[in-house]
Each structure stands twice: as structure tokens, then as C-alpha cells.
Amino acid sequence: MSLSNKQRSLFQSRPARLAQAAVVAVAVCLSLGVTDTSARFNDVGRKLICTCGCAQSLLGCDHVGCPNREGEMTQVRNGIAGGQSDQLILDGMVERYGATVLGAPTTKGFDLVAWIMPFAVAAVALIATIFLVRNWAKHQPRLADIPMTAVQRRADEAMRERIRRETDTEGDL
């Protein structure tokens, strides 16, 4: 099926070309996010702990003859090969090895507290500090406004300029 000249010019117009470029760029970006099987294995593996008692991550456990590592890894590989989602694989691991197999708390129930607490504490402390500093700044005792003579003002400005020129900084050199 051939395109008419009008249709061809529509596809070749500047807006159309920009739109095509945008679509290609989005497609490239999305394709960069697509992971292969080994990357998925590493991603899931990083979220799991070896349950042999070594307290290391599943991918990090290097014990000779570790009784658990291979079993856990096989289950992850089988899950990926079987087309399971990451979450389904992790649920299966929890079902078999218990909640300790997960390297981090989940985002449900009491576990959520583990995630919220650090940010909540930091946010409260940050807001409190800003509030405190603003309050201090507002209630800072002000110097009495004593009128300066023209000579004093010139001397003051000259001194400031000299300090600025000699130190080239407003800090404490």
C-alpha cells in the first residue's frame, strides 16, 4: 500500500518528525529498563538472605557446602524461568523459609513502621530546626539605631571595602 503525497508530507512534517523522535526516545528509555534473566536473578537475589545463619545476603553467602544457598537460588531461578513475578517469587520464598529470608521488612502492617520512622524523624527534626532558627532570628536583639555622621559612614564603608578586598571572603579567614 503506497502513501499519497499528502499523507507522505504529513508524516514528514516537522511536528510529525518531532513526535516520531519523542516516541523513539521513549521507546529507547523504556527498553533500557527492561532487564534480562540474570539481572532479574541479581535483583531478586539482593532482596533475600541466606538462611544458613551466616547473616549474609543470598548472593553474598560464600560458605563452602552451605546447606541452604543452592536451594534458595534454585527456587529463585525456577520462579524466573516459570514466568513468575518478583513478588510471587518472594512470597514463595517466605512461605518456604519464613519471613527472615527477606533482606528488608515488607511494606505492610507493622513492617511499614521500619520504613516510615527514619524519614518521619528526619522530617520532624528538620521542620523543628527550621522553625527554631526562624524563631531565634525573629527575636534577635537589634542594635540601637544611632545616627552616624557622614564621616563615620564613609570610614565604615571604607573599612568594609578594605576587609572585602583583603580577604576576598565573608567567612573567617
Binding site: W115, Q140, G171
Partner: protein, 690 residues
Amino acid sequence: MAAFGSFALLIGLALAAYNLFAGGIALRLLAVGGPARVSPERLAETARRAGIAGFVAVTAAAFALIWSVFHNDFSIEYIVEHSNIALPTPYKFAALWSGQEGSLLLWAWLLAAYGFVLRLTHKTDVKLHAYAGTILAGVQVFFLLLLNFAAPPFALVRGGIAPEDGNGLNPLLQYPEMVIHPPMLYLGYVGFTIPFAFALGALMMRYPGEKWIHITRRWTMMTWLFLTVGVFLGMHWAYAVLGWGGYWGWDPVENASLMPWLTGTAFLHSVMMQEKRGMMKQWNVWLIFATFMLSILGTLLTRAGLVSSVHAFAQSSIGPWFVTFLVIIMAVCLFTYILQRDHLKSEHRVESLVSRESSFLFNNLVLLAACFTILWGTLFPVLSEYVEGTKKTVSGAYYSHVAIPIGVFLLLLTGVGPLLAWRASSFRSLRRNFILPGIAFLVTAIVCIAVGLRPWADEGVFYSLITFSLAAAVATAISSEFLRGAGVIHRQTGKNYLSSMILLIRRSTRRYGGYIVHLGLVVIFIGFAGYAFNRSVEKPMGFGDTLDIGPYTLKNLGNTQESNPNYDTEFSQLDVYENGKKILDQPMAPEKRVYAASGQPQTMVANHSTMRWDLYVVYEGRDQATGLPLIKAFLNPLVMWIWAGLMVVVFGTLVAMVPSLSPARAVATVPLPDPGTLASRTPAVIGSGD
């Protein structure tokens, strides 16, 4: 020797107890005044001398244990558990801190050594040193009680019959760093007792002014340096020995060392505000209290087995002792604070949100937020077990989400803080100081994306990009501070830029030493950012087999087994080629050892390290299917930057500890305003400003 050691510990306890009680009574008498049967000054002096003698006693005990290790005295239980005849000499020293009792003895000895120096330098301020020495004696009494009654290092073997050989040192500890990492860490932990004792003492006696901070400044910095080096040596040990390709596993014991480091760092910054502007006195006192308590908490976590850890070798049942001690310390600190709170009123307050003072406040905030996050993550398994009945695991997967953003923010403040002026910064100075770092940030981000970093594809890459960009900005900011200062001196003195920069640093060692430390941290953060790009390959390798990773090809020259009295070893010899060209004269030889005394296996990693990346090769054991050695190779970018950054931090801290050049002084005679009231002319001393 066991009897000698036990006796020395007992005498050490008696002397420390005398130091505590006699010192306490003397200080009380001095405080209330009035007539007394004994002279409080003389009583305090006897207490001080008891403290000095205590050091001799504890040194004798430590010597007795080392002597026993070197003479294979297997009548002592501790020597049986932590040494054997074939143990190489350096590791015989390491046996001192490889177990519970020995490491407590090391702690007590270091505490006594710090106390010895403190008591010898008492003339700086006799009364303040008397307070600090007495508080220190209290801490010494606790550790010596432990050593005498809860964890005696000289306990004899059960049954009284000494075996012919010991069980040997834990294989994990048979690595060069282990000879130096624990003492460094302990020097850090124990060292924070000194500023703690001075802070508490100064508060108890309502010490006027900030002199106690000047007295303890070098103590604190040296302690901080020891802790920093100890933490990084621990990282290097984990990297080289544990064989999982990383250097920080967010293990509870690693976390325990990081927490006092964070609060200690916060203290080092905020104490400057107290020195310069008489601010944040209450905050500083609590920071140093918290740092000391976190050091004790770290020991509790290591010893009590509250949480699962790779440091499980050090666990025992002395947890309740540490909990009790922590409660007592907390109570004493709280009581003293409530009683003397009015003494800690600030002389000034922060005047602007955009000032050096507020940057210190935010820096403290971020450091403490990091400390809280780590403490929270470390203790969450215990909390979840209490609430839900299930012990949840909190590992790197958690910390990479919560701690890394805080770390990145901290890196930002590392650069922003030095650019702000005291009291308030004008918009003009902000624009002038931030324009170059801002450009450096943007250019680095664009270059990183141009060379292939895809921050939208992976969270780790996103943080790496931010870190690289911030590192460039902070490095630019700090460098411009150096160049600006050197430029002023160059214009004033006509010296060349290098000499001007050296003079600049010598004139204000503390300030520019601090900037060098910040630069070191930037380098370290660059090293951390490389972690997002780690990759690994695993393969069973027979003779002649090859394994490709990045630009490298490993070729197996053969697999060998050897034995010596200490261990049996299996290793592969691997030639390394980069883009087809052989790059190493000697082949890499990752090995797996099995120690004779304990029968435990241990990995010995082979590592080829460059500034760009580490080729890190592990002999994992035999592949069950093929029977061939299983070789795992990692390509870890930028790891060497971490160790290089540490060197810069060490250098910067040492610079900051050197006294600054004093401005030259000249005597000038000035006429008095009213000659009639005074008959003579008075000389006045003025600084010439060098």
C-alpha cells in the same frame, strides 16, 4: 602466670575503686568547703596516684596474657580457645582481642592508658582533671569488675588438665588487618571516654567558659581518627576476607561502630559553635554523652548476641552487665544535666537560616538522622520479634533505601557548610560562592549521562550520578576556598601559589585541615558510588579454562594443594589478560584454607586493584557437578578511591591537630587619653596580624 594476671587485675580493681571513692569524697569536700579531717587536695592527689598505679596493674595483666599466649600456656582456658602452637607470631598478639575476655582486657588496658596520660597532665587544670579522672575511674571499675568476676581472662581449663595444643585462632581473624583493626577501633571507642569524662566533670563542677573543650579538642580528634581508621580497616578486612565482593554489609556490629562515629563527627562540628559563639552548650554535652553511650551500646550489641551478626564469635552472656552500666550512665548524665542545666545557657543564638551556624545545625541533624536510621534498622529485628513474634531481617536491601539518601544529603552539606559565613550570608556572597560548584554539578551530571549512565534505569545508578555530581561540586567549592585564601596571601606576601597555600594551611590548620578531611570524604563517596556498577561471573575452571569479565580474561594455569602446620590450602593460579595482553607477572592465586586446629575453612581473596576498578577473585570451593574449582570473579569499580580517601582524611585530621602559626606580636607604646590621671605610660601588646 595465670595467678599473676588474676592478682594484677584484682589490684587494678582495688586501685580504680580507691580512685573513684577517694576522688569522689575529695571533690565533694572541695565543693562544700569548710573544715575536714583530711585535706581534700591531698586526698585527691592520692586518688590520682592510685589511678596511675592502676595503669601499671592492668598493664601487668595484659602482659601476663600475652606472655601466656606466646608460651602456649594451655592451662588457661582463654589460650586454649584462641591460640595454638602453630599460630604465627603476629596472630598471637591478635589472640589478645580475638575473644570476649581478652578484648575486655584490651579495653580496660586502653582505658587505663588514656587515664594514665590524663592523670599525668593534670597540671593543665588540676580541679577539672580531678573530676575527669574520678569519672574515668568509675568506668574503669565497671570493666575491671567484669574482668574479675564475669569474664576472667585467666580462668583455668575445666578439670585442671591442660591440653597439648589449643583450638587456634578463628580463621576469620587470621588476616593482617585483624592485628591492627580491633585495637584501632577500641582506641576510638575507649577514647571517647575522655571527652565524656571532661564534659560530665565540667558540668558537675559548673566549669566556667569553654576551656574544657580546648583541653579535650586533640583528645577528641585523635579518638575520632582512631575510630575512623578502625572502621575503614574493618571494611577492608570484610572486603578481603569475607569474600562476598563488598566492604560494608550493614551487619549490626559494623553499624555499632558507625553510630558513635556519626555522633562523634556531629560533636566535632557543633563544638566549634560553642567555642566561637558560646552556642549549643546543652546540645554538645548530650552529643558527647550519646557518643560514649553508643560506644558502650556497640559493645553490648557485639557481646550480647541481641541481633544476628557475622561477628557471632564474640558473643556471650555479659549483656545484662552492659545494660546495667548503660542505665547507670544514663541516670548519672540525666541527673547532672537536670541539676546543672542553667549553667548551659547559650550566649548567642543563630541569627539566620543561611549562615555557618545553621549549616552546622543541619549537619548535626543529618548526622543524627543517619545515626537514628542505623540504630532503628539494627534494633528493628528485636522490636518486630517483640511486637509480632517474628524476627524480621534488616540488611543492605533496607539501608540502601533509607541510609543512602541521607548520606548523599550529608555529602551536599560537606560542600555547602564551608561556603557560608558566620552569623549570616548575603545573597551576593552566596551567588559568588555557589556559582562555580553549581556549574561543576551540572557539567558532571551531563558528562555522566553522555558517557552512558542511565539514572532512570536503576536506583543505584541514580544515586551514583547524584554522588558523582555532588562530589565534583563539593571538590570545586573546597578547592576554591583554598585558592581564594592562597590568592590573598599571594597578593599580600608575593610568595608563589604553592608556598601561599602551605602558609594558608599553617595559619589556620584546624580550618584547612577540616577542609582536607572534607576532600577525603568526597573521594570516599566517589568510591562508594562505584558500588552500583559491580558485576560478577562464576565458573568451574579446569586447567586451561578461561573466564571473561569486563576487559579481563582469566586463564587457569593449574589448581594446587599445599599444607603447613597451621592450615591446608587449595588454590588456583590464574593468569590475567587485559584486552588480550598479559598484565601481571605473577598469576593471581585465590585460595581456600582449612585450618588444622579448628577445622574451619576460610577464603583468601586474590585482588588486582587499580584506581579504575578491582579485579577480585574468589576460590569458592569445588563444584559439586564437575568437581572442578569454582572461581568467582568480581569487577568492582572505584574501590581503591575509598582507601585513598581514607589516607586524605587521616592527613587532614593530622593537619587539623597541628597548632596554627601564632600571629607575630609587637609591643607598641600608645599615649593614654588622659595623662593627668596616670603618671606613667603603659605598654600595650597588639597583634601585627602576621
